[in-house]
């Protein structure tokens, strides 16, 4: 089955530091990839979405799927205090019949704390 592996957390960074959160995946099919962010006591919220070979950008975050590595790392050049949250990488595989997997496979999440 599909699987997603993320950077082991927690990650602590000072304000304005550069962020990279790793995400690698395994799937026998082509995939759609996502990053979700969950702030404290809130629901997971879609941050980025991508199909293969297309970089996406949202709120200063970027992620570019690299098929050769099966990776979809999340990057931000300069983090803010408000970026403190748990970040989840997720995928949906695209099966030939279209009647296969509707659910997303989530990674375990990486907790990010940004400190002054």
């Amino acid at each position: 089955g599909d699987s997603v592996t993320q950077t082991e957390g927690p990650v602590t960074l000072p304000e304005r530091a550069a962020l990279t959160l790793n995400c690698t995946y395994q799937s026998s099919y082509s995939t759609f990839l996502f990053w979700y962010v969950q702030y404290l006591n809130k629901e997971p919220e879609l941050l980025l979405k991508s199909s293969e070979n297309q970089e996406t950008d949202s709120r200063g975050f970027q992620a570019s799927p690299i098929k050769s590595d099966s990776s979809f790392h999340l990057e931000k050049p300069s983090v803010q205090l408000s970026d403190s949250a748990v970040y989840y990488c997720a995928l949906r595989d695209i099966r030939d019949s279209g009647a296969g997997s509707y659910q997303l496979t989530f990674g375990k999440g990486t907790k990010l704390s940004v400190i002054p």
């Binding site: 997971p44 879609l46 279209g98 509707y102």
Partner: protein, 116 residues
């Protein structure tokens, strides 16, 4: 700004009582998912529906949990009888798409359940 809504937002109940959680998916979305989130287990998929038909409930304890979608605007998750180990945040999510679609999911604010 369309959102998934869930009621109640908080529920405290005694062991053995029945608990019903409700979800209104985003209008027009054709898939609905129920998740449970705890500190220990993270985000777990319990069940999901497509076009109101249950597709997978393998993540749900069958003896006490049931999920239904009586119409396109309402999904319910019921626990009977409830136990302290059911204490968690229950999220509903909805998505839209056909064959080859991304099927990104949009989460509701969750129901925080405490069973004493």
């Amino acid at each position: 700004d369309a959102r998934v809504t869930q009621t109640p937002r908080h529920k405290v109940t005694e062991m053995g009582q029945e608990v019903t959680m409700r979800c209104q998916p985003i209008l027009g979305h054709n898939t609905v998912f129920w998740y449970r989130q705890t500190m220990m287990q993270g985000l777990e998929l319990l069940a999901y529906f497509r076009n109101r038909a249950p597709l997978d409930d393998s993540g749900m304890p069958k003896d006490r949990f049931s999920a239904e979608m009586p119409d396109a605007t309402l999904a319910t998750l019921k626990i009977q009888p409830s136990e302290p180990r059911d204490s968690a945040v229950y999220f509903c999510a909805s998505g839209l798409g056909g064959q080859g679609a991304r099927y990104e999911q949009y989460f509701g604010p969750g129901t925080r359940l405490t069973v004493t």
